[in-house]
Point group: C2
Chain length 319, copies 2
């Protein structure tokens, strides 16, 4: 909390006025561990209006081009669009790759489109917390649609997708050969399935296999549509938007929408509680008595970590 | 804790006797959320003897072949070797890819080599907890060397590498072009750098660039060696092992070894405390009063998540 309150207020007002500069500053703030609170608290009451759509899929599925085409289609019908490209970067890739790809594209010059890439940093789970907060910032800034693109490798990204209302899973023909490897997780995540690069051989088979997998769970209230696209040619884009819209209508018309919202908030509160808990210990604000002694005992193998954690935990938590 | 105590004891005894079947069962147990405690507690006192080496690097760097060659070299000098291939799998890849690759290799038939692949599942951070526990199981089982291979994408894997004593970062020529993208993180992680595929053009440049990056932090007590390898031909393997050995000697001869061990244990205790904390809330054992009301208020935007978390956290944590 080194930022003076005045600066924070300026950012908050700028976000609410939809000014790109302040939106950018707010997004940088929420990426910093502990930096979100000051910005988010006054903004939160103004959220809840944007349509939040997650786009995920394996590397090479053509997600960036698809996202670009979806953004253009939303723009044509008058919605302002924010794109958050979440890159599960490592020290090896250095991040921001998805964002850079989008930045080079034609939509970058459209003032009705705001693009931001976010990369992994800080504590475990920090990226999903930061992405949720970034969505709130963009929502409060008045964007009609927020598209969250993740490369879909690793559990962090699965968590991120859960903060979207509607999740589009993008697959490509040829992945069909590995269809056995696609775990049930993907079916739980996907509200809409897109077979991109559908002009390639194997598109029929890929679509048929997704449909078959969906048939195994016939009791779901929402049956995810399977759409075929050729993103660079714009084919199937309006069908994808229709499918996303249908899912939105389903969420509004059934208890599912309310249930998802509650589930998301509960997960988010648990994330925040967990983050506060760890920070309290690391800062020493709630350091359990005997932590350092326990470290020594565990290092010397006089106690196992589970026993130590159980003891320390009892000293930290109220019954 | 549905396993009968007898079954747990049988597994523990089997692990201590080095029996592959029980080692496998113990590893499956620690992969399950909450499944580690029963196995780990009696085993922990018997850990601390294995040499734990992490191998990480970008996809395509040839890590699996390198790991295989390192394992063979350790075998030749009489060490038994366990390999843990950690796959940051997503629902898309389905995991176990690294492990499968190794499984097809010649070392698979050597009874002195134990191979296991672990994939992402469960809660955030769960994989790094499970990997640390798996290392303990293999350590207690008496393996002289435990090689932990991760694909090095995402923060989970960075965390995993931190549970190794010595970390080998594997790079390849051509990555030199993106050297600016290799963040400081990699320098902090690497105790030994390997330029694999060193018969390719650009190997000199890649090595020179790593050396240059290391020159920027000249005040470190340990200067990571940079080794060149051509893993399929076995070139540079003994030099890599020498470098790993040198780092081991450094850890034993200086306070650094002890400090790292304490840091690792502290991180692990915090992970376990965090896991217990979350589980306590999810199970309702430590459900903060008013959690459900808070969820409703946040869903309805009558309260922001940060305010709700602060209030709930105060009810959970002892001062």
């Amino acid at each position: 909390m080194t930022t003076a309150p005045a600066a924070g207020m300026e950012v908050v007002e700028g976000v609410l006025a939809g000014r790109p500069r302040e939106i950018g500053r707010a997004l940088s703030a929420v990426e910093r561990p502990g930096g979100a609170e000051e910005i988010l608290r006054p903004l939160y009451a103004r959220t809840g209006r944007a349509r939040v759509v997650g786009i995920t899929g394996p590397p090479g599925a053509g997600k960036s081009t698809l996202v670009q085409r979806l953004a253009q289609a939303y723009r044509r019908r008058g919605d302002s669009v924010a794109i958050v490209a979440v890159d599960p970067s490592s020290p090896f890739t250095g991040g921001a790759i998805l964002g850079d790809r989008i930045r080079m594209s034609e939509i970058f010059t459209d003032p009705g489109v705001f693009i931001r890439s976010m990369a992994t940093r800080g504590a475990l789970g920090g990226l999903s917390r930061a992405t949720g907060d970034a969505i709130d910032v963009l929502d409060a800034a008045g964007f009609g649609v927020v598209l969250v693109e993740t490369v879909g490798v690793g559990q962090d990204e699965v968590e991120i997708v859960r903060s979207a209302e509607t999740t589009v899973v993008v697959l490509v023909p040829g992945l069909g050969d590995d269809i056995q490897a696609i775990k049930a997780g993907i079916l739980e995540i996907g509200d809409v399935f897109v077979i991109n690069k559908a002009d390639r051989e194997g598109a029929d088979r890929a679509a048929a296999e997704i449909v078959m997998m969906l048939d195994f769970t016939p009791d779901r209230a929402w049956r995810p549509p399977v759409v075929r696209t050729v993103a660079p040619r714009g084919e199937g884009i309006s069908e994808t938007i229709d499918a996303i819209d249908s899912h939105g209508a389903f969420l509004r018309a059934t208890p599912e929408g309310e249930e998802r919202r509650a589930r998301r908030v509960r997960g988010r509160l648990l994330d925040l509680l967990q983050e506060r808990f760890r920070r309290a210990i690391e800062d020493g604000a709630a350091r359990p008595e005997g932590l350092e002694e326990a470290v020594t005992r565990v290092v010397e193998r006089r106690e196992d970590p589970y026993a130590a954690a159980a003891r320390l935990s009892g000293r930290l938590l109220r019954a």
